[in-house]
């Protein structure tokens, strides 16, 4: 998996850029339950009620990246679409590090890392207060790396799930696996970055009871999109793009981007 190397390279570049900017701490979420953390320890009687939607950081960089990256991903997808149709495996393989870099940038700049105090302490920043060390410190990079490791661990499971839902098993192995890797990078990586291995949070996500935000919206959108991507395959139009797994990947990307944007804006904080 060419995940780590290009990722660290690109993220280090971002670190420099990010450090150069004076950044303020994240804006607190309004609400009375502000002191409750999103990473409540497991074992409490009802830990799920406290999971709160993820706030995108309020830094100018974060806000720029938040809007720029979906556009960049769409552009990348459209740009590589013809190549993807003719040659799915190499195109998907080569796109992985780029998408990973995009997601890494997004996570580091826009999302609160798991266990990061900034995301938890929602105290209002006093005017003029500066956070020590800035937003992207070594700990967030480690979180990002950890999240990418978790993402690659999750990929085989996602592959298995795709096979169980009807992906070819004996043929197109690399097609399906790469598709699963893309889906994992899109839909799971931000969640790993935000929640780490917090089982209570994951239980809420797995039970579809988490509140909608960019990360969870992206997951739901990506999964539903990939699921709907199977719909046009049986049609007898005999188009090249009906081949496995173009429609699935297309659905995953479309669904993820839609879910991320809608989850971050229109449906933010809502639950199923």
């Amino acid at each position: 998996m060419p995940l780590v190397d290009p990722v660290t390279m690109s993220s280090s570049a971002i670190v420099k850029g990010a450090v150069a900017q004076p950044t303020s701490t994240t804006k607190s979420t309004p609400g009375s339950q502000a002191t409750e953390s999103s990473t409540t320890t497991t074992g409490s009687s009802s830990p799920l009620a406290t999971l709160r939607p993820v706030q995108i950081k309020q830094t100018p960089a974060a806000q720029t990246v938040r809007h720029a990256l979906p556009a960049a991903l769409t552009a990348l997808y459209l740009f590589r679409f013809d190549a993807l149709v003719t040659n799915p495996v190499p195109v998907m393989f080569n796109a992985l590090p780029v998408v990973a870099a995009f997601q890494m940038t997004y996570a580091l700049l826009c999302l609160p890392a798991a266990g990061e105090p900034a995301s938890k302490s929602n105290r209002k920043p006093r005017p003029g207060e500066k956070k020590k060390g800035g937003d992207i410190g070594s700990s967030t990079i480690i979180t990002a790396l950890l999240a990418s490791v978790l993402t690659s661990i999750a990929t085989p499971f996602l592959y298995l799930a795709m096979v169980l839902f009807g992906a070819p098993f004996l043929t197109h192995g690399s097609h399906t696996f790469l598709c699963a890797a893309h889906l994992a990078l899109l839909a799971l990586f931000p969640l790993f970055y935000v929640h780490g291995v917090d089982s209570a949070a994951w239980a809420a996500v797995g039970g579809f009871r988490a509140p909608l935000d960019e990360t969870f919206g992206g997951l739901v959108g990506g999964l539903v999109g990939a699921w709907l991507g199977a719909v046009p395959i049986p049609l007898d139009w005999d188009r090249e793009w009906q081949r496995w797994p173009v429609t699935i990947l297309c659905g995953a990307y479309g669904g993820y981007l839609l879910g991320r944007v809608l989850g971050g804006t229109l449906f933010w904080g809502k639950k199923f």
Binding site: L164, G166, A203, G207, P234
Partner: protein, 916 residues
Amino acid sequence: MSFRRNGSLSSTLLLIVANVLIPVAIVIFATGFFPYKPLLPGLAEYEPLDGYGEPPEAPFDKLVFMVVDALRSDFVYTTNSGFKSTQSLIRHGAAIPFTAHATSPTVTMPRLKAITTGSVPSFLDVVLNIDEGDESSSLASQDTWLAQMKAKGTGKLVMYGDDTWLKLFPGTLDRADGTTSFFVADFTEVDHNVTRNIPGELRNDDWNTMILHYLGLDHIGHKGGPRSPHMVPKQREMDGIVSQIYKAIETQDHLKSTLFVLCGDHGMNDAGNHGASSPGETSPALLFISPKLKGLQTNQDSPLPDAEDFQFYSTVEQSDLAPTLAALLGFPIPKNNLGVLIPEFLSIWPKKADQAYLLHQNARQIQTVISAASGTKTFDGALTAESCASPSSDYEELACAWQGPSKIVMSARVGDDMNSQWALPVVTWLRKAQELMSGMASNYDMSRLILGQVTALLAVIFSLSTATKTVSPTRSLTPLLVISIAYSIMMFASSYVEEEQHFWYLATSTWFGYLTLRGFKRANTTFPAHLLLTAFPVLVSLRLLRAWNQTGQKHAGTPDIVKLFIEPHPHFLWLLVGLTYFWTHRQLVHSFHGRIPVPINYPVMTGLVLAAFTFKAAFTLEDAPELVVEFVKSSLLDFTRGASLIARARAVFVGLGLVAMAAMGFILWEMTGTGGNRKRSRPKRVPAEAITTLQHLYTILALTQSRTANIPLFLIFNLLYWFLSNEIDVLDGTGLSTVELAISSLLLQYASFFAMGGSNAISSVDLSNAYNGVSGFNVVLVGVLTYVGNWAGPVWWAFGTVVLLGKIWRRDQRQKRLGSGNDGKRGSDEKEEKAEAKQRLEEGPVSLFKTYVAVTTLFTAFSVAAVMAACTILRTHLFVWTVFSPKYLYCVAWSLGQHLVVNVGLSGLLYWLGSL
């Protein structure tokens, strides 16, 4: 209270009305969609045509008509064909080759009808082809070239081969020996039965028509596809017969004026199947062979290179055979013919007047058919120039177009000097008439289509209102509505109809994914344990189900579990089959445990299951001998050697009947005998277990009627059943509800149908088990056996659902007794649910069954309405007869057979027995 009673009563009434409307809608729509085609009765005579002399003299007086079933054009004409001597006949001009276009449905009976009458059989003939005993499909009262040859009185009619001919022509054939296409594994015996009669008949001179119909090549196709290693040897065998007959014609004096026709009734696709309209299926070969034909000097090239579209030499319609035979053998063209005299043969008659006579006869005869169809006398010459300037109908346009060709035949009649292409406009006109009359698009009865549609929509409305009344909370109907609406939309796309299985597989996986996901919330399981022990096995089962049999059109014949793992490893297959029977045996014994003493229980059940198993083994030995392993052959079959298949099957059926009667006896006995005192202490428990006996007995019937390779699927069904049953046993209020069970059942009924190899194509109807234990022909028996053979899985799930419904009822009773089990846990609709539970207790267990029927009725009404709408809107679509009409027939089977008879009728009976 009375108010609620009224509400429940009205919803029951609505449900009944909806279920009455469904069959009514189906019947009304069918009468408009499959219109009765008027047939001209009686035997044709030569039409009196002015200005001609006697009918021209025919060059032939005897006919040898050899049909090789599924003889695709390339089997004869290409380089890698086994028909070497036939190809040399083509080169020498003694054989004139064609590709005969066979219209869909490409199955034997409609094709033989087209070949013999020259007409295009109606779509309903496909159904009658399956229901072979139907007398109305007989051609005894229709005009065919067989009837004409018989009327000539110059000899007898003899037939050897496929007994479809005997069914089509009862009483017409003087000497016949029919062979039944029963086991497709039989490649040699079916053909040997034909061939052994040939030498004797070639010496006889008392016949004027000899029909030979070989089935072996079709069997090879069904079994191994067009590239089977048996294919070329079989072609050589057929080639040998062709040259044997040709030599006899050449040498023997009484055969010298014999026309020898070799043809296929249809072709086959790449998987070796037929029924639809792919180029391979619609392109059989057709050859006219006689030494006399050398005079035409056609001398075509042979062999030819492969052609993608299977079109070799010139292409004619299969129905063209009838008028061509009429001309060559000298009899009037059969009355309902829509064929066109093949123009290549015209030059046999040296005089132009004769040629004109033959064409004119052909045209006049088709004009009679058109007049009968249009109900007007369009060809009486009353048409004016004005009405031809803007013809009001297709018929009138055709009549106007006849004026040109009519002048040409008139001048040809008197022997005017004309160029060699003079006949072309006449033939073009005939082809145009043929095309118009073969298309049946104009024959729909629109008012009936709309009336049927409206009735179906009423059924949808009623079932919707009853479902919303019966089911609470109403939002639990959402998945059902999503399924119904998505399915309805899908019916309008031909490829989704062809590939319907994907819909059910994806929906089932998603639904069960949701059900298992829900289980994660429960406190009593850990995430990995639930994942490994519940979610994973369930989803893997569904994945295996999906991959078991490749079905649909697009990827028919591609590898699936049966082809990749089962067929190459028969030991593995028999291990799974043995396991399935063993498991059923165990369950059966268990369900009788405590009712009859063990010394009786064990031997009886073991005997029954062994009888069923040995029948299956013996049947497989005939049907697919390559699948039977030595162990099964030696240990089990030798044990019961000598018993015929029919006797074995009857033993199974009689045994099943007796045990079923015993089980019903127990149910009734336990009800009356213990009703007074013990019923209170063990309410509903014992009888509910007694109906599981009936469920397991049905499993044995289902196994008996299923293909051997499909039997392991019942193990998978059992696993899914176990999952559903466990989901019901959850007592914390999150267990499976009635609606959820009904949706699961609906999904599994459809998914299991497709998993067992079903599809929406007529050719996928599995008839291999339709005659188990039946010696003669019995429409009802064969119909029931065919239904169980194809819907074994869906019926299994319907009966399983009944048992599970009883389980839900008992769980709810227990939950009620436990009382406050789920108090305070539920959200907003708890009140509603409580009210529902209360109502349920008032109505008794019937309310559960009502909910189940409401769910299946809702979906059935939706599907019926959608299929009707699709058939109406797309009635001029290219695929209407190949995709949408078969879908309509399947929809009829699903809604009348599966929904009304099985899900409402039989399941209702079973549920009633269980709740006694």
